[in-house]
Symmetry: C2
Subunit: 237 residues, 2 copies
């Protein structure tokens, strides 16, 4: 075994525990044995090599080694997105996690179709945990509380480049060559932002950016924004 | 109705026909009526407004108007990709179509997991047709015959920027600011290209490019490459 596991509780004194379903999964599905080596991460940037120290019915105890060298930090990118539905939401979170996006804000818009209910937010969180395990990321994609367009815009740090995905905008790539700092990017729902919403965004200083020659689905626009930023800022470890 | 339909046979003298399953779909599922307005496209760059002229059991006749103004041509981007499996393949084709990628070459590699069988190629083609209908693209993503790495590299046009996705490479974005022409991008299988394959690619002039701070799944790397190119070259109509 050299699988990666997310720690729901922080480790203490070089030990960590997995209880309940997580313990059963490790013991029964993955058939872990005492002494097996795994990697655990806390979702906040730290990962440890670990060994299975004890296997109980509903509790697995792990001995942790010294923390591993830090993986790349998330990109300074906040995506505020009118969530798409079902599988497209799940896919979007997987891809945004792989691409290094730092923060996802579910955006409440006039034409939005999917509400960021607590159950939806929990699903998104599970999605980023799974993607982190797979791609080696140690910091979860932060799923922020749902926000209106006004709140998302008001919440941004000074110096952040703010952009709104809009088919009629300027190409996004060249803009990134002139800006190395943090980015806030807004993605509207299927059907787009209303004219009022778009005016509010540009009025608050957002640049309208075009991402592709065709109208993109919500999750495609979000992934394209993250990919464009990542391609300018990153180098994998 | 204002739906978009792909014409499997070229129109003649201002008329087109849909036969068999396509006719039944239009007549029974979508309940088309004589006089209904739709849009049809040939997958080679032309779209027409059309009216349902006659509805038979297995045949629908359409009257076509003059061609619509051309949509954006595909990006001069060829992606040679060691195909991922199942749903990830389907998603990849949908996203590459939306993002404007011109050509997809299924790449045969040492560690590849999915073979580009005729059935798989047909599935990919159906996938790009569906995505074209949805995003307004009138030229299909070209699904090229499967090729080895050597063949994909030998087949490229002079002047093409050739890159290979590699976590240790240089960031891809800045490279695109210096290159406005055609791009050939190679994506290896889960587990990556072998050292020999990577050496063959760089030996043939490929630049190694990094796309994100983490190891990407195959379909994510392909989509990220297309998004990076699209963000530099395009503006939607």
């Amino acid at each position: 075994m050299s699988e990666r596991f997310f720690l729901t509780a922080p480790p203490a004194a070089g030990h960590a525990e997995r209880v309940g379903d997580e313990a059963r999964h490790l013991a029964r599905v993955l058939r872990a044995r005492v002494g097996d080596a795994i990697v655990v991460f806390d979702g906040r940037g730290t990962a440890w090599p670990a060994h299975v120290a004890a296997l109980g019915r509903d509790r697995v105890t792990l001995d942790l080694g010294p923390p591993l060298a830090p993986a790349a930090p998330p990109l300074p990118l906040t995506l505020a997105v009118a969530l798409p539905k079902g599988d497209r939401q799940k896919w979007m979170v997987e891809k945004l996690t792989e691409l290094g996006c730092g923060r996802l804000v579910p955006l409440a818009t006039s034409r939005g179709v999917a509400e960021a209910t607590p159950a939806a937010v929990e699903r998104l969180t599970r999605g980023t945990i799974e993607a982190c395990k797979q791609c080696g990321r140690t910091t979860l994609l932060e799923i922020a509380p749902p926000a209106t367009l006004a709140a998302a815009l008001a919440d941004r740090d000074p110096g952040m480049l703010a952009v709104v995905a809009d088919p009629g905008g300027e190409p996004f790539g060249p803009l990134l060559t002139q800006h190395a700092g943090a980015v806030l990017a807004l993605v509207g729902p299927e059907g787009g932002f209303t004219a009022d919403e778009l005016a509010a965004a540009t009025g608050a200083g957002c640049r309208r950016v075009s991402l592709a020659p065709h109208i993109l689905r919500v999750e495609t626009a979000a992934i394209a924004l993250a990919a464009a930023v990542a391609s300018h800022m990153s180098r994998a470890d």
